[in-house]
Symmetry: C4
Subunit: 380 residues, 4 copies
Amino acid sequence: MSEGAFSNLAQLSAPFRRFGGSLLGRYLVLAAGLIAMMVLTVPEVRIPAGIWLHVILWLCLAYFAIETVVHLAHARRNNALARYLVSPSGFVDLLGIFPVPIALATGVAPESAWLFASLWVLKLAQNSPGFAQLGRVFVLEAKPLASVLVLFLIVLFLASALMHVVEREGQPVGFGTLPQSLWWAVVTLTTTGYGDVVPQTVVGHLIAALVMICGIATFGLWTGILATGFAAESRRRNFIQTWDVVSKVPFFQTLDPSAITDITHMLRRVEMPARVAVVRRGKVGDCMYFIADGEVEVDVKPTPVRLGSGTFFGELALLGDSIRTANVTTTKQTTLLILDLADFRKMMASHVELARAIEAEGKRRLGHNQQKREFENSPS
Amino acid sequence: MSEGAFSNLAQLSAPFRRFGGSLLGRYLVLAAGLIAMMVLTVPEVRIPAGIWLHVILWLCLAYFAIETVVHLAHARRNNALARYLVSPSGFVDLLGIFPVPIALATGVAPESAWLFASLWVLKLAQNSPGFAQLGRVFVLEAKPLASVLVLFLIVLFLASALMHVVEREGQPVGFGTLPQSLWWAVVTLTTTGYGDVVPQTVVGHLIAALVMICGIATFGLWTGILATGFAAESRRRNFIQTWDVVSKVPFFQTLDPSAITDITHMLRRVEMPARVAVVRRGKVGDCMYFIADGEVEVDVKPTPVRLGSGTFFGELALLGDSIRTANVTTTKQTTLLILDLADFRKMMASHVELARAIEAEGKRRLGHNQQKREFENSPS
Amino acid sequence: MSEGAFSNLAQLSAPFRRFGGSLLGRYLVLAAGLIAMMVLTVPEVRIPAGIWLHVILWLCLAYFAIETVVHLAHARRNNALARYLVSPSGFVDLLGIFPVPIALATGVAPESAWLFASLWVLKLAQNSPGFAQLGRVFVLEAKPLASVLVLFLIVLFLASALMHVVEREGQPVGFGTLPQSLWWAVVTLTTTGYGDVVPQTVVGHLIAALVMICGIATFGLWTGILATGFAAESRRRNFIQTWDVVSKVPFFQTLDPSAITDITHMLRRVEMPARVAVVRRGKVGDCMYFIADGEVEVDVKPTPVRLGSGTFFGELALLGDSIRTANVTTTKQTTLLILDLADFRKMMASHVELARAIEAEGKRRLGHNQQKREFENSPS
Amino acid sequence: MSEGAFSNLAQLSAPFRRFGGSLLGRYLVLAAGLIAMMVLTVPEVRIPAGIWLHVILWLCLAYFAIETVVHLAHARRNNALARYLVSPSGFVDLLGIFPVPIALATGVAPESAWLFASLWVLKLAQNSPGFAQLGRVFVLEAKPLASVLVLFLIVLFLASALMHVVEREGQPVGFGTLPQSLWWAVVTLTTTGYGDVVPQTVVGHLIAALVMICGIATFGLWTGILATGFAAESRRRNFIQTWDVVSKVPFFQTLDPSAITDITHMLRRVEMPARVAVVRRGKVGDCMYFIADGEVEVDVKPTPVRLGSGTFFGELALLGDSIRTANVTTTKQTTLLILDLADFRKMMASHVELARAIEAEGKRRLGHNQQKREFENSPS
């Protein structure tokens, strides 16, 4: 495939993105494909509706194929073709296209071949930024998690060997061989408890009770480790995401690095699409906002005010009587930094120059409001 | 319905609130209604007791209808009628009244129509302030929770497709179609394990074991994320609730904002109804109390002392030998700020002026007590 | 019963305590009683061994009766009889004695009457100091836990009403009435999953899948709340327990309150019985110990050294090459305060006067050891 | 066995370690042994493949015997023979060798005798450093965990006694005796839910629902306690592991102890084998690295640079535009200390002398790079 062919496809991608490339459109295609694939395995539905199901499935496959070509063209333009092909995202794209046609070509029955379409579910992971975070938790806590797994395996093996000895006489079907006994142990230790194999002897009941309690203990350890790891990773990630933005807000640039670090820990970064109400008049306010990037509109009378990057709003409710005095709406995609009341107090106490700047602006706005209010209330 | 009608209803609401509007009364009505509705579906009970069940149900419906009208009148008086109608609380009120009569009017059998009364259970949520808190945890941790959900869906889909391939020969009823296989996967991945469908082949057992272990891992992550989010939200909420109160206690108003922030983090706000024993003589004391609002009675001899807003008590046990020297009881609805021993030590060390004030008051009271005790012990 | 009778019984209590009042003895009696009571319900064992089982049960009952009398006498001597009788401990004591004889007297069959002996299991809670701590966690987090419970109830009710509508046609036994449907919902929402009632329709499967996922979410919230509450309570409790002891160690009494608070947060209090090896020569040391109360023996050559209350040991491994140079054993019941390496470093850096005292003592001991070692190595 | 024999075996150990003593080799032998042992219990496979299975099993046993001898010789050389024999590791080694031959010698059937080979699974725990950590969590939180266990036992006993009374009439097989009833209670309280015994009466359903909810509450407490304990232990362990290394890095040795403590809390120690890519050019960098021990190669043009112990790298991405400018690969086993962006900022702000040293080195390297880049870009 020549470079020219790629360029042509890249030109195709613009309208494609406009219609079908939106995230919602993508999820709808994905859902349609997966449901059609599921329904195809049900004979009662497949026989009357077969042709339509195949049309949907082929359309979805085509969609994902075009999407992959767009991704390839994009990667080619950025000289990242090789990196894309070995990346998880590239692998998922290819897994979405090739298995089904290859299976059909090698003569697999359609209802079986289309089962490979279940790999499309992996596309859900492509838009989830949180996966890297979850992965890091597993890496950070790898050693204790491995220890819990080893504990799990030890209990599993010893319990199944014991149960095999105790129960094989009475239940040759359930505990007659060690692999069968191991199946029982997994089902019990994970507290799933199908009930297809259940110990019958008194000793068997005692061992099973111990296994269940071990299952809960193991599970508790596992959860405890993940909770600890997640809390650490969450703090770290929040800092890194916020730091990028804080260091670009002019309001904070006069601070020394120590103070910026301090304040970064207090702020939380939030992305908001256009036309979202950030603050509503009359609600109780418990935070203020800094605009890192974008713009908001404050609907004060007589003419609304627009605030751009580097400004802040919502401080009046924290300085005064805690009721929001105006609606604030984003006008475009906006990155906000949120400062909670608790941290606002801390910041006002420890960073005098910021406190003064915020209070001065707050008073200016309040005076402004009151003048206007008096003006409005005066007989017209 | 005219404004006048509303006013009349609003006048009705005072006695209504006195009798049935108490929280306990409401819960009793709710419980009676839900139980009657449940029992109505049991033919053995419905046939002999039918008329009484209907009486109870109609009375409950009437109670909720009156309650809704009271809410409407209250909202009307505060010019918040529109806001009430679109609020969750208003929606729940309307869901409690209309579905049952509408269903009966359209000819649904009574036992089925009254099933809509199960929506009354939503009224439990109207008095739970903690719901907003739980909701915030989900919002704060939306991204990682979504990632876990995606992980869950991926495991679900791939496992059910694999199991369908492996087990459909042997068990056409349980794994013959993908939706059936998906049902097995959900039951297994959540570790519910009904046991209605269980894999039979060796490969099926291996896949199922992996799914169960994935289920525990997913669940651990989920719990870890919620625990992290809840801890952060809990700190934040406690600060905000306490700050409101601390800044109004005269004892703390001499402090600079930094010190108030400091102390707010140490205090915990608690609401107590009237006639509750806060402190009992002879118990070991590990905290002191500031009265933010309300009044308590200290039963010192010969005449009990009453302490009002802005005062404190319980400091003697922290300064001296840790045994409470008097009973303290609230005389009306009281808001207390609790300071634990650990934080008391910290406060005494870092805020010298507060430490002096508390110690001076403590000595004064102690001297007072001893004088009185000597007086009582002297021959009379 | 006269005061004299009580005194006589109180005199009985000394030998009673010596033999049977030890904690281990008590647990053995409890275990014997509970096992005998269990076995009494098994006809195959009851018929041949009946008389012996009754002997064991009556002996246990007698033991608990004597124990209760001892408790009563003890409470009487301390003028706390009324308080004991209404305390949980007193209630458990009385529940252990009276129900069985009363049931036997009213003509209940022995195998049924002795079932009340299962109340003896409550005696396990009498010696568990951790119960108060767990209780406090539930009190502290009462509001969010209540919200989770309300969430649980709402899902439960709505799910069972829906399932009743969807499945009652096909499965009149499992979902024919709302209470039956509720039973299914509880079993599913707690992820217990007996499998006695399982939805059969497609819509039923979808609702059930949602209920299971809600079950996991609810459970995760519940655990997260308890983890948060327990972490807070654990910090608080550790401080209070340690503070009592730290403030009595002479070594720390020269410090100002702020420093004591600081150090209390670093130390962890541990109780050790006599003749326990605290430190073993040759092991890697990662903490030092302060003796709050009691005595230890350090086996340095030629004569072991005894260290009493207020002294410290184990600092050499933290100052030097991290290998313990001697065995240290308790000679009697000893309360130790443990300082971890991390906190040792922090303390050495922030409390210069303590650092100097510890280092000086460390050097003195090290010089002492080396002199002795040289002495031992010199030709004798 | 004479000392000479041991020495001979010790000489054997070098080649043994080279081939089979690697960790991977050991795991493969372990897996082969466990699978062979499992398969031996399946008659369909045992009869055709019996001889091969026995060959594999005896080879594994021989491997573990030689390994044990190597361990013994190693312990003998270090005068730690007695300590090795009573250590858990020595016990596991002996459990791996003796039970099977002893069982075979006493005439047990081979398929049963080889079941003792399931004890080999304990060897997994010998290489898991995390076990000590998990054990410490259980020791630290012993009291609250014991309380939860007591709570568990109380619910278990009371629930099974109640269910026995309620259900024994209707289900003599499942609830006829208290031990049977206890089996049901364990299965329910751990939310395993086999479904082999299920209450049938309304009262039984109510009790069972309460038991399930108690099960979830207990489990939540258990997990919460373990999570709290693990978080504390994790902080402590990380500090101790890192402290050892930090205090040996020359770059930090100019700092006072307080600053070293501070920085130790920020760093995380990671061991990396040879030829691992630590940093990749073009990726976004969010941490810097200190080399505690080992060596890395930075592939700058024209000649790669090697950095040894005590140096650092990766700081450019934190000082400048956050994109890594070179690949960095370990050349041998290397211990790195990782400093995250958040902590890097904190360190730069609070330790001026370190900040200057890092910035100076960063500028030097950057200048170097740019010179080279200009040189490369100049017409050649």
